[in-house]
């Protein structure tokens, strides 16, 4: 009686598995032809879609432009888009799919540090190329990753120096979302403020909030009181994504004016502002390496192209988009130089490559796989744009290992032959990690 039910079930289950096997391996053989494959690894759904989806469009636009210009090495470029859905294990899986299944020549992708950490082993194992376009905490240099976003010394430190020298700030509230980027940045800043500028402990307030924190009443009023004690005060914000809107709304409603307590943000760009009514925020600051308001023809061309690509008059550009613009052109240049898309050749060729950035200058790829960038400070305008009030006289080279962290003080990265090392210790002259142990103890002893 039961037997008659076995067959359907067995057939069913086997067919499922068979389908799976077929489906998976079918993808593998589908791709064996001319176009150069460019993988795009940005979340199109889930919590990160809000930031990452525009980056996907950016790369697609760049590919179109490249193809209109005749492609690369006489071959057309083809985008391979997958959706890691803001899910970190899925990022690793997708990365593996891009490299192992679709055998793409290069990948542009990731936003959050955790997603980068998740895919890193995959890229190292399968020897792929990843261009990572977002400002991050540093403390990393992989042979297979090119960091086109800002390292802390290309954003945080100049920003604070601006506050001290130009605005005369004496008290700092370091407010951030509780994850690794704000934690590291704030530790670097604390060390920097105390060592370099002798700021006292009671003049530094540190506060961390969970992701997507939406009720800022208490913290903002705390900041208000912190700023009411006579010394000029500023907030250094490493608040991430969604939490910003309620934060700024609360600031405005509790009547904190940029002229009294300016907020300088490292993760709030034009795109985030496009979700906020900026009228009450005029004068608050952001530190980036690019602003949409930059007055340069490359920029205006880029903006026009972008608006045409999206078909949205209101569409905004932002710093990570510029990072992809730079990264893409660097990769293309390196491919031309190497005459092939073969990964190792490109890796060697790209170091030293220099391409124009969008702020009228040039960006060069450093041996530590970070690039040179100008640092701009912008003040929020009531039209959702930034007005550039200060910028570094020259470009700053990204520093993979911060000089202000005991663990990494004496580490450098250099991927040129013969060194080819991501964490070379200049003290004991060996590759492979710092004398972190002693350093850590020393730091604690102090």
């Amino acid at each position: 009686m039961a037997t008659q039910h076995n067959y359907p079930s067995r057939r069913f289950i086997t067919s499922v598995l068979a389908a799976a096997v077929m489906g998976a391996s079918a993808q593998a053989i589908a791709q064996e032809d001319d176009p150069i494959k460019v993988g795009i690894l940005h979340s199109l759904s889930g919590t990160m879609a809000i930031s990452e989806s525009t980056l996907k469009d950016t790369v697609e636009m760049l590919i179109e432009q490249q193809n209109e210009a005749g492609g690369l090495l006489g071959r057309q470029l083809e985008a391979v888009v997958v959706d890691p859905a803001s899910n970190w294990p899925l990022f690793a899986e997708r990365a593996r799919e891009l490299l192992a299944q679709h055998e793409v020549d290069v990948v542009f992708g990731n936003w959050t540090s955790v997603s980068r950490k998740a895919v890193l082993p995959v890229f190292e194992e399968l020897n792929g190329l990843l261009f990572y376009p977002v400002q991050y905490e540093g403390e990393e240099s992989s042979e297979n990753v090119f960091y086109t976003g800002a390292a802390p010394n290309q954003q945080a430190i100049p920003a604070v120096e601006y506050l001290i020298n130009e605005v005369g700030i004496e008290r700092f509230a370091l407010v951030g979302t509780d994850y690794v980027y704000p934690r590291t940045t704030n530790r670097i800043l604390e060390a920097f403020l105390k060592d370099e500028h002798g700021v006292a402990d009671e003049d530094i307030m540190v506060n961390y909030t969970p992701f997507g924190h939406s009720d800022w009443q208490n913290i903002v009023s705390e900041i208000r009181r912190f700023g009411e004690e006579g010394k000029p005060t500023a907030v250094v914000s490493t608040i991430n994504g969604d939490a910003n809107v309620p934060f700024y709304r609360e600031l405005a409603n509790q009547g904190i004016d940029a002229a009294d307590i300016p907020v300088i943000a490292f993760s709030v760009g034009e795109q985030e502002l496009s979700g906020i009514d900026t009228a009450p925020l005029v004068g608050h600051l952001a530190a980036w390496n690019y602003f949409m308001s930059v007055d340069a023809d490359e920029n205006y061309d880029f903006i026009d192209a972008w608006i045409e690509h999206t078909g949205d008059e209101e569409a905004v550009t932002n710093d990570p988009m510029e990072a992809h613009y730079i990264g893409f052109n660097m990769w293309a240049e390196a491919v031309r130089k190497a005459g092939t898309t073969e990964v190792d050749a490109v890796k060697d060729a790209i170091i030293g490559v220099t391409v124009p950035n969008l702020s009228g200058g040039y960006a060069a790829m450093m041996p530590n796989h970070h690039i040179t960038k100008p640092v701009l400070i912008g003040e929020v305008q009531d039209n959702g744009q930034f007005d550039i009030v200060w910028q570094t006289p020259s470009t700053v080279a990204g520093d993979a290992w911060s000089d202000f962290l005991p663990g990494s003080r004496d580490l450098i990265a250099d991927w040129r032959k013969p060194m080819e090392c991501g964490n070379f210790n200049v003290v004991n002259g060996s590759c492979g990690g710092s004398t972190a142990a002693e350093e850590a103890e020393a730091a604690l002893a102090e």
Partner: protein, 536 residues
């Protein structure tokens, strides 16, 4: 704050003020060449030079000076490629209507490429504000005088003393007078003068407290003592204000929770439908608000008011659609409703992402909802949250009325108590289901409208609230509206009381653990449902 009214600056200021005073009698408009020179001086890179140029503009007895400074402050004073000075009338969009700064005649539209903004930074912004403030002290408009008087607290220095004292005598508006005298007192205190300290005793204003604490560390022991006592005397008062503030924060957070949960309390508590798409219905309400503001540009307030009914309708209709298309087939299988509605929530989210945009939308806070209500110098309550709090209570009261007083409410309660019996008494249970679900969904829409004033309007809006909503409903006791109200408000207050010393993350964790343990003690929540309906 640094003093922006430096000595030299103020001297010229006073001079210019006296001049403008005369200017009223015999005006000799300066030729545009000198005016042009004034503006040209502003168009330099170094902010210090700009600062001096601003002073120069002030000194010139040009009656356009204030407008220029205001335009400069708003970043609307710009220079076109042909070197003319332009005042941008509206800098939204890519092409801006502009007017000539000197003649004031409109020059049509110009694009950003043709214009160079004369940038300022916060320092200049402060200088400009102070400067305009000083000018405004002489303005016939009381409001301007008040704001500038407020502005001058802690900004006064020696040179301003005399003129301000004069003004105090002439001033007929009480507010302005006592602000000004406070400003003077602050200056005196900082000079270590006794009467300053006496005048400030009892004042809660932060600037006053700063001045006092400086005096408290001054060298004159008598004054220092007095200052210390003055500070101590307000301590208690400050503590009370602090407490009131925290309570207010708690209630407003609570009101948000209540709004988010109350709709759920109906669909879930009354119908037993575990609606995971509830959050997305809130999201729809928020997007409706955004839509309305797009439809009525320039009238955010009106749009907001209109989106209350609109948001309700949209969410309610979608709710009905969900009920008809899915939930009606899952009668008596509450669990399946959880699964199906979870699917729906995924669909709705992605619908918004692809249909509208994955990016957050800007919802403008209307004038009458922004800023805060000043109770005293140490306590002011944010108005938008006050409105939301009131709104939550109104919505709650409305629901109570519907449930207690209307036919629908009666039928709903009947159906919950005993479906079969209700049917046999001629109540059309299906209709009641539709109505109930529509009501619950509509309320979710209302919550969305309110949330659009506090947080992101984006595809993830719903997910951020759905879990908390379930917590509130369960904590309050399923099927009991009062429970939801009390639960929401109390959880809000607990959270805000914990936050200052535990930090935001720990506070939330503690609250969750508290809920878990509480449910151990009272397995049916704060207000358990009575009778057979509760069994099973």
């Amino acid at each position: 704050m640094r003093r922006f009214l430096s000595l030299g600056f103020v001297c010229c200021l006073l001079l210019s003020l006296s001049l403008t005073a005369q200017a009223q009698t015999n005006v000799t408009p300066p030729d545009d060449k000198s005016a042009y020179a004034l503006l040209e001086a502003l168009d330099v890179d170094s902010y210090r030079d700009k600062g001096e140029a601003i002073t120069a503009v002030l000194q010139s007895d040009d009656e356009r000076a204030r407008d220029w400074l205001q335009a400069l402050l708003d970043g609307r004073l710009q220079r076109s490629d042909d070197g003319r000075f332009i005042v941008v009338l509206d800098n939204s969009g890519r092409n801006w209507p502009v007017a000539d700064a000197l003649t004031g005649e409109p020059l049509g539209e110009m694009s950003r490429r043709e214009l160079d903004r004369i940038g300022i930074n916060n320092a200049l912004r402060n200088q400009l504000r102070s400067a305009i403030a000083v000018v405004d002290l002489y303005s016939p408009n009381v409001e301007r005088r008040r704001t500038s008087a407020n502005r001058l607290l802690g900004e006064v220095d020696g040179e301003l003393l005399a003129p301000i004292n004069e003004l105090i005598l002439e001033e007929d508006d009480g507010q302005v007078r006592n602000r000004l005298s406070q400003a003077v007192a602050i200056y005196r205190t900082e000079q270590g003068e006794m009467e300053g300290v006496e005048a400030l005793t009892g004042s809660l204003h932060p600037r006053a407290r700063v001045a006092l604490s400086r005096a408290a560390h001054g060298d004159d022991p008598v004054v220092a003592d007095a200052a210390r006592n003055a500070l101590a005397s307000v301590e208690q008062n400050l503590k009370i204000n602090r407490g009131v503030e925290t309570l207010y924060f708690g209630l407003s957070l609570g009101s948000v929770l209540v709004l988010a949960a109350i709709g759920l309390a109906i669909t879930f508590g009354v119908m037993g439908v575990i609606n995971m798409a509830h959050g997305e219905l809130m999201m729809l309400g928020a997007y409706t608000t955004w839509m309305m503001q797009q439809l009525l540009p320039g009238q955010p307030g009106l749009a907001l008011v209109l989106s209350i009914p609109a948001g309700f309708l949209v969410a309610a209709l979608v709710g009905v659609a969900i009920e008809r298309s899915v939930i009606q087939f899952l009668k008596g299988r509450p669990l399946e409703t959880l699964l199906a509605t979870f699917g729906i929530s995924l669909i709705l989210q992605q619908l918004v992402r692809t249909g509208i945009s994955p990016l957050n939308r800007t919802v403008i806070t209307p004038e009458w909802m922004s800023g805060s209500l000043v109770i005293n110098d140490a306590l002011s309550l944010t108005i938008n949250r006050m409105v939301v709090l009131a709104f939550a209570l109104v919505v709650f009261a409305g629901l109570m009325l519907i449930m207690r007083r209307t036919r629908l409410g009666l039928e709903v309660r009947a159906v919950t108590q005993n479906r079969a019996m209700a049917r046999s008494m001629g109540i059309r249970a299906t209709r009641v289901d539709i109505m109930t679900f529509a009501l619950g969904s509509g309320v979710a829409g209302l919550a969305g409208v309110a949330l659009s004033q506090l947080t992101n309007v984006g595809p993830n809006l719903g997910q951020n609230y759905i879990i908390d909503s379930f917590m509130v409903v369960v904590f309050g006791g399923v099927g009991n509206l009062w429970g939801t109200l009390v639960a929401g408000l109390s959880l809000g207050v607990i959270n805000q009381v914990l936050e200052p010393w535990a930090g935001a993350v720990l506070a939330k964790i503690i609250v969750l653990v508290f809920i878990i343990l509480f449910i151990q003690k009272r397995p049916r929540g704060l207000f358990p449902q009575k009778g057979r309906a509760a069994e099973g």
